[in-house]
């Protein structure tokens, strides 16, 4: 490629500027979190004495241990079930290709653009009828359903690319559909499955609307939902609110940094729901 030195130089500058714009709010949040509780610090100013204790204080006053526990229980309810049933459905639709599969697939596709706000009202009454309001099930069960359009589309797209010869060989060896799935296809699908699991983990962790509508007790919500309640209570104490926000977004950052390769490619290939 013919590229002048000036062009590569400009590219670097643009990249760095974009990175600074992205990072600055995080930095400002961090610096603010170190100020004395109850004060109104200015933008980006290193405090005279950094109050590292704010993180401990926020951790305790938000009852963060309970929140973490709650979020992990919700994740534990959502992610394994959603990934398992989406993989089964994606395998059936994309690889076994039963008669009429395209209609079933389009039926799932229809849900792909659905805004959560569109169904949150009837969902409230439905969950109330089931007697699950204010329990973690009120978030877990609907979320599994809401993730299905994306998850099934994602897994189907993966299984469509698996060669049929592979299954034919296994069939000749006498494998049933069930064995074919577990012994041949699941081991070969680990990258696709783990990408899906990471995405669903983050979307569950960050789910806000369902959490605040269906669960009153912040200690039974997702992390994002609990953060909303935390803002309501500590909205006036800026340093503490910032410390709490940092604590709540750190786990997602860690997960992202560990799995970023899978995450970016997953979001890029299937970025229809965010």
């Amino acid at each position: 490629m013919i590229v002048s030195a000036r062009e590569t130089w400009m590219g670097r500058v643009v990249l760095v500027v974009l990175m600074i714009v992205t990072i600055l709010p995080f930095l400002s949040l961090f610096v603010t979190a170190l100020h004395e509780p109850g004060t109104y610090p200015r933008g980006l100013e290193w405090p005279d004495t950094p109050h590292w204790g704010n993180f401990v204080l926020a951790f305790q006053s938000a009852n963060m241990l309970a929140l973490l526990g709650s979020s992990f229980l919700i994740e534990l309810g959502v992610v394994p079930i959603a990934v398992l049933i989406a993989t089964l459905a994606g395998f059936a639709l994309g690889h076994l290709k039963p008669w009429g599969q395209s209609f079933v697939f389009i039926f799932f596709l229809l849900g792909l653009t659905l805004p959560f706000e569109g169904i949150v009202t009837p969902l409230y009454f439905q969950v109330r009828e089931m007697g699950l309001l204010n329990t973690r099930w009120a978030i877990i069960l609907p979320l599994i359903g809401l993730f299905m359009p994306f998850a099934v589309t994602w897994m189907r797209a993966h299984f469509v690319t698996m060669p049929q010869e592979l299954s034919e060989a296994a069939r000749v060896d006498g494998a049933t559909t069930w064995q074919l799935f577990w012994r041949v296809h699941v081991p070969l699908s680990v990258p696709a499955i783990s990408s899906l699991a990471i995405l669903l983990f983050l979307w569950t962790w960050n789910q806000f609307l369902l959490a605040i509508v269906l669960v009153d007790d912040p200690a039974k919500r997702t992390m994002a939902g609990a953060l909303g309640a935390f803002q309501g209570r500590y909205g006036t104490d800026i340093p503490l609110l910032c410390a709490g926000s940092l604590l709540i977004l750190t786990p997602t950052l860690i997960i992202f940094l560990i799995f970023q390769r899978q995450f970016v490619s997953a979001l890029m290939q299937g970025s229809l729901k965010g």
């Binding site: 643009v14 069960l141 099934v152």
Partner: protein
């Protein structure tokens, strides 16, 4: 049963044995196919069950509620399309829809434009280590809860926040204000938060699209004397059409269905200047207890998203085939 039929076959007619065998084989194959079809649908069943019960059923219920006057507790009365008329005539509700469309400017047009321009400049160094680091960094806003982005930015955009501090540094102290508390600037300010979240996604997508463009095309264009602008419009833009369509789809949905950021940063205020459909549905259903109007608004929102997104999908498909 299978076994019995096979055993009975040769007795039927020895003359046409070959033909019967063939027919039997065909029948058995068809039966096996039917069993496989059924078992395949057995595997689809759990996913379909969750989807139907927690997504499709609520949509149908939403449509049903939208024709009722109901406070969620007492009896519901049929009111026909009154709720829909309300959605399209009540200035507050119409305003929410218009706000959502204005947000497209900030959530979609701004990030896609920035991403296209930046990607065009970055293209040459897309394989460098700096670009790799940038990919990670620019993705960070995608990963954190939107609620956290809302809290973070409410603070940056406040009177003493980072934004005003930078403006003062640049000698623009005259225009500083509480951006989210001002009737004229609240919606653009909320839009900036959305743009901040979405730029990284668009940039990474579009950069990935650019790596698929044959470098020989650029060399040919240069040799033919094309300038950077010409190059951008004749090679780059057509080359990333599909990625741009994905960006536009994702970001338009984010704009029309926005909730988290606005709930946290402005709660729809000041006045109704940042009220959007998602927030309005939430208030109508859970504060004002107007389930019918909330449901009608929800149906209108779902239709709006489809009307905007489906044509974009055609652009996407068109490229694939």
């Amino acid at each position: 049963m299978e076994g019995v039929r096979t055993a009975a076959a040769p007795v039927e007619s020895s003359g046409a044995a070959a033909l019967t065998d063939e027919r039997l084989l065909l029948r058995r194959r068809r039966r096996r196919k039917a069993i496989r079809n059924l078992s395949a649908y057995g595997l689809v069943l759990p996913a379909a069950g969750f989807y139907v019960f927690f997504v499709v059923r609520p949509i149908v219920l939403s449509a049903q509620y939208s024709f009722y006057e109901w406070n969620g507790i007492g009896p519901a009365t049929w009111v026909g399309i009154t709720n829909y008329i309300e959605v399209f005539t009540n200035p507050k509700l119409v305003g929410a829809i218009l706000n959502a469309f204005e947000l497209i400017l900030y959530f979609t047009v701004l990030p896609v434009a920035i991403a296209l321009l930046a990607a065009n400049l970055i293209r040459a160094i897309a394989a460098s280590r700096l670009a790799g680091v940038a990919r990670t960094v620019l993705f960070l806003p995608q990963v954190i809860p939107l609620v956290a982005a809302g809290i973070m930015w409410s603070w940056q955009l406040s009177t003493d926040g980072l934004v005003n501090q930078i403006l003062r540094l640049l000698g623009l102290g005259g225009i500083t204000r509480a951006w989210l508390g001002n009737f004229d600037t609240a919606l653009p300010a909320v839009g900036v938060i959305g743009a901040w979240v979405l730029v990284g996604l668009c940039l990474v997508l579009i950069l990935a699209g650019m790596t698929k463009i044959d470098p020989a095309l650029y060399e040919a264009a240069r040799i033919d004397g094309a300038g950077p602008v010409r190059e951008f419009f004749t090679i780059t833009l057509p080359g990333v059409r599909q990625e741009v369509a994905v960006c536009v789809t994702v970001t338009v949905i984010a704009a029309l269905a926005s909730f988290d950021i606005i709930y946290i940063s402005t709660q729809g205020g000041p006045g109704d200047s940042t009220l959007v459909p998602g927030l309005q549905i939430f208030y109508l259903a859970f504060y004002e207890r107007e389930i019918g109007t909330a449901s009608a608004f929800a149906i209108v929102l779902m239709v709006l998203v489809l009307v905007v997104v489906v044509p974009l999908q055609r652009v996407l498909r068109g490229r694939e085939s």
